[in-house]
Symmetry: C2
Subunit: 248 residues, 2 copies
Amino acid sequence: MKTSLAEHRSIRRFRPDPIPSEVLHDLLTAASRASTCGNMQLYSLVVTEDEQLREELAPCHFNQPMVRQAPCVITVCADIHRFSRWCELRGAEPCYDNFAWFLNAATDALLAAQNLCVEAEAHGLGVCYLGTTIYTAADIVRILELPSGVVPVTTVVAGYPDESPALTDRLPLEAVVHFEKYRDYTPERIGELWAEREASAETQRLLEENGLPNLAQIFTRNRYRAEDNLAISRSYFELLKKQGFFNN
Amino acid sequence: MKTSLAEHRSIRRFRPDPIPSEVLHDLLTAASRASTCGNMQLYSLVVTEDEQLREELAPCHFNQPMVRQAPCVITVCADIHRFSRWCELRGAEPCYDNFAWFLNAATDALLAAQNLCVEAEAHGLGVCYLGTTIYTAADIVRILELPSGVVPVTTVVAGYPDESPALTDRLPLEAVVHFEKYRDYTPERIGELWAEREASAETQRLLEENGLPNLAQIFTRNRYRAEDNLAISRSYFELLKKQGFFNN
């Protein structure tokens, strides 16, 4: 490896030290240099350091302690608003208020976010993505005053780490890579790919803790349940319509 | 900057040299270490090196020469199929065939893709994202034999560069960054943020070439037109339904 990307750990405990402004500037610069659709930069990064505002955002992330603890909460937004405003002011008719451009803008936003995280770790900072963002996106829109054409797609908390967790396991590389075409999975292959994880001490601990027969059921019955998944699907879809990504 | 992320250029001309397998392994390892929702790794990377298959993929990317020229075409897919198969085989009922999990899976896929690109550039390789992926995603599904629960979200071509383009301009950093909350754009501010780009020699060249009065109209009238945007929105949305991301 030519980078230290393989050393990434999500950090969930932070020291209170703020991120120096010149360091933050590097993070944001790295984000801004990511590939972007047609060089349109269809994203906005809302950098929230104010303690009161982080307090307001915390319930949107199920009060996970890192939102209050990390000195910097970066809400990563798909943004067709700024580009469309520019078009309108130039007598050009933008037509980006649709699903294709939600996808393009979300892609821009996520590539920028990952660059920000890579630069952050190179500075000795720790980061964690908050998947809760899409659960409560309408509340985040309200708190951060996101206009029509802007919607949050993820959140990154960043700060100096106050923990040094072990590397998380991953499936064997061949689980996620296909050569030439997609090669579908036989039951035997699924068994092989998950064997190590299923046999791990961590899994045994989780099974005892949850009183469930296997790891898959911890996901489907405890972590990501049908009723929640469907509620999030509906609420985010409605929000996309409200924020003007399904006008056409 | 602690990284060379600010030096990124998209590369569109490649030497024919293949990517050595140990280098490709590093790229894929970097991808696999990106943050992922609940450590579920809801993506697949389809690495296409076969010349005949790249030839088949080329029209999906509007025959841009780099698809035939780059030795390696990586189709980046949101994938709830593998995880759901595992659940089913363990007597767990997956409920990931919905919009929320398309978003989670697409996020996983894009963070992994960006890690792959960062590692690629650290190896002296060049990369380019192909936004055409969502235009013709149904054809890509057919060619790469993607099953239900899998959909392409972007494509990366990678290889050794045969050009060394100048750094692309970006809007001033403050255009995409908001501190604390979103700060909406006044017409004056839009003017300031776009001033340098609008005054550039490159823009003057484009205006003459296109016979249009300003840069914004090059976007709305030539590059990304309403009828295309709407057709892509519809076709990708239909594909998501067909691939089982709107079962609930």
